[in-house]
């Protein structure tokens, strides 16, 4: 974990309202793992005050660059989207834990929705490179929200749209449910996205007795585990009531979370 001054290498729109930003990763800094995140200090003035957290969406060891995919939402992300290649970037990273690797005989089912695409994409690419055959399922409302992504080599990408305007007609969970138990028999589920989708993935995994890891999101202040601000509530059988997303997560076994 280091707080470094980086430089933006490129910034482009990849879907309606979504940007991909690539920036320099310092030689000395630890390589980030899929699921880990960073925080960015967006500007000098105290509005917005806090650093903004984003999951890593890719890392290029040779180019010494990393990237994030983010949605333009409020003040902070609007300011971020206005930055250009060459602008400086104040980055604190890598933060948090990461997805755990599937066993060699497990098929990784990677489910992403909305701003959950980044970490899932990064993980899918790493698994793909390592010879796994990940299935990346990305669900969104409609076609304009589907990002333009290079295909995987061993695995594949399955788009799903609520309105059927592209890919599978239905949610990513509908798609998973459409798979036969044979097809998901040795699957391991990984998810990142809106809470409703995460819970549905968890329920799906429970119903088919699969293991499921989920990357969570909560409003953060410190991002390093010091302020106790970013907690999620844990299931009753856990040894404590809350866990910090930034330090104990963002990746949790879905069974440990209290889904409400």
């Amino acid at each position: 974990m280091t707080n470094f001054k980086s430089e933006i290498l490129s910034q482009k729109s990849i879907a309606l309202g979504y940007m991909e930003m690539t920036f320099r990763w310092p030689e000395e800094s630890e390589k980030p793992k899929p699921g880990q995140f960073l925080t960015i200090k967006i500007q000098e003035q105290p509005v917005p005050l806090l650093r903004r957290p984003f999951a890593l969406s890719g890392f290029d060891e040779e180019q010494k660059s990393a990237s994030i995919i983010y949605q333009v939402r409020g003040t902070g992300t609007k300011m971020l989207a206005a930055l250009k290649a060459g602008d400086p970037l104040d980055v604190l990273s890598p933060l948090g834990n990461s997805f755990s690797l599937p066993a060699v005989d497990e098929t990784p089912l990677l489910v992403a929705g909305g701003i959950g695409l980044g970490p899932i994409l990064y993980f899918a690419r790493e698994l793909d490179k390592a010879g796994h055959s990940p299935v990346l399922i990305f669900g969104c409302r409609e076609k304009s929200l589907i990002p333009d992504l290079p295909p995987l080599t061993n695995g594949r990408i399955q788009f799903c749209t609520d309105d059927g305007s592209a890919g599978f007609h239905g949610s990513s969970v509908d798609y998973m449910n459409s798979l036969s138990s044979d097809e998901t028999g040795n699957a391991k589920v990984y998810s990142c996205g809106p809470t409703g989708m995460l819970k549905a993935c968890h329920d799906f995994a429970l119903s088919r007795d699969l293991s499921c890891e989920t990357a969570m999101e909560e409003m953060m202040a410190c991002g390093v585990g010091a302020c106790m601000g970013c907690v999620v509530e844990l299931a009753e059988d856990q040894d404590r009531k809350y866990a910090r997303v930034c330090k104990d997560g963002p990746v949790f076994q879905s069974r440990t979370i209290k889904w409400t």
Partner: protein, 300 residues
């Protein structure tokens, strides 16, 4: 240039500490700032029993500020001794334990159980906690309660005792005088300002506890005013905090009467704020020809 500050019979090496609740027990920030250069670490509040803290969400941003509703989330005295003391023991900077409770007896019990620890330089008593015996009004809003709490805790320890004042009162000077009368070795101000945000889409408060504690640059003028008034009211050192983001802010507090400072919310924005503030204070002193912290005082 002498940057040290004396509180009771002990010395803080420099005025720039990090504020309770914003720095955990130091471990998390070890890779990001030089802990040995800190004037002091004020720990997250410790209570007798472990506390899970408040329901989520616990944070919301406001214009130039943030509101937190962490509650007194902490592992309790027993696990504090077991899990946190070893690391704190390894630090060369002063460690000041932030003590909290819902009853006078709970504050006392924490101090009794930890007082033999050499790792602890002193105590900061968080009197913004609701007093369950007094209808939930914070200890720190009533001079009588403050004097009593201070004097009863004073009897339990030889370490410096700092009373941390809440700004949510009519007359903070009166509270500070009560702390001094009770034997406090220093006062720190300010704790967070009561604030609230409504989520207009969900039509409910942004945090379940409804109101929470406002901190950050937005409250700096409130903190500076409090430090100014309190430092005119008492003869013990005043530790200033509230919205310090850089050395200029720190100098404002020192000129207003503070002898030492704490960096809180700014740690979240730049984990090395304390280092930069200390450097900046030294530069200011050099330019001004100041040789000790007390040279900041008495200009108005």
């Amino acid at each position: 240039m002498d940057l040290s500050i004396k509180i009771k019979d002990k010395i803080l090496p420099n005025p720039v500490g990090v504020a309770s609740g914003t720095f955990g027990y130091g471990e998390e920030y070890a890779p990001l700032t030089d802990l040995s250069a800190l004037g002091a670490i004020y720990t997250k509040a410790v209570t007798v029993e472990p506390r899970p803290g408040n329901p989520l969400p616990r944070l919301v941003e406001t214009p130039a500020g943030m509101i937190n509703s962490i509650g007194l989330a902490n592992v309790g005295t027993e696990r504090f001794l077991k899990e946190k003391i070893p690391f704190l023991n390894s630090l060369s900077c002063p460690v000041i334990l932030n003590v909290a409770g819902s009853l006078e007896e709970e504050y006392a019990e924490v101090i009794r159980r930890v007082d033999s620890q050499d790792a602890l330089w002193g105590y900061e008593v968080n009197i913004s906690c609701p007093n369950v015996k007094h209808g939930g009004l914070a200890f720190g809003t009533d001079p009588v309660q403050v004097e009593r709490l201070t004097s009863s805790l004073k009897k339990l320890t030889d370490k410096p005792l700092i009373m941390k004042l809440t700004p949510n009162v009519t007359d903070i000077s009166a509270i500070a005088r009560a702390a001094e009368a009770g034997g406090a070795d220093a006062v720190a101000c300010i704790n967070t300002v009561m604030g609230m945000v409504v989520d207009i889409h969900k039509r409910k408060p942004a945090i379940p506890a409804v109101t929470g504690g406002l901190s950050g640059p937005a409250v700096k003028p409130v903190g500076v005013a409090a430090v100014y008034r309190v430092s005119k009211a008492v003869n013990i050192p005043v530790i200033g905090l509230g919205g310090i983001m850089n050395a200029d802010d720190a100098v404002e507090y020192l000129l207003a009467g503070a002898s030492a400072l704490q960096i809180g919310t700014a740690n979240f924005v730049d984990p090395d704020t304390s280092g930069k503030v200390l450097t900046g204070i030294k530069e200011y002193m050099k330019e001004a020809g100041f040789t000790r912290i007390s040279d900041f005082h008495g200009h108005f």
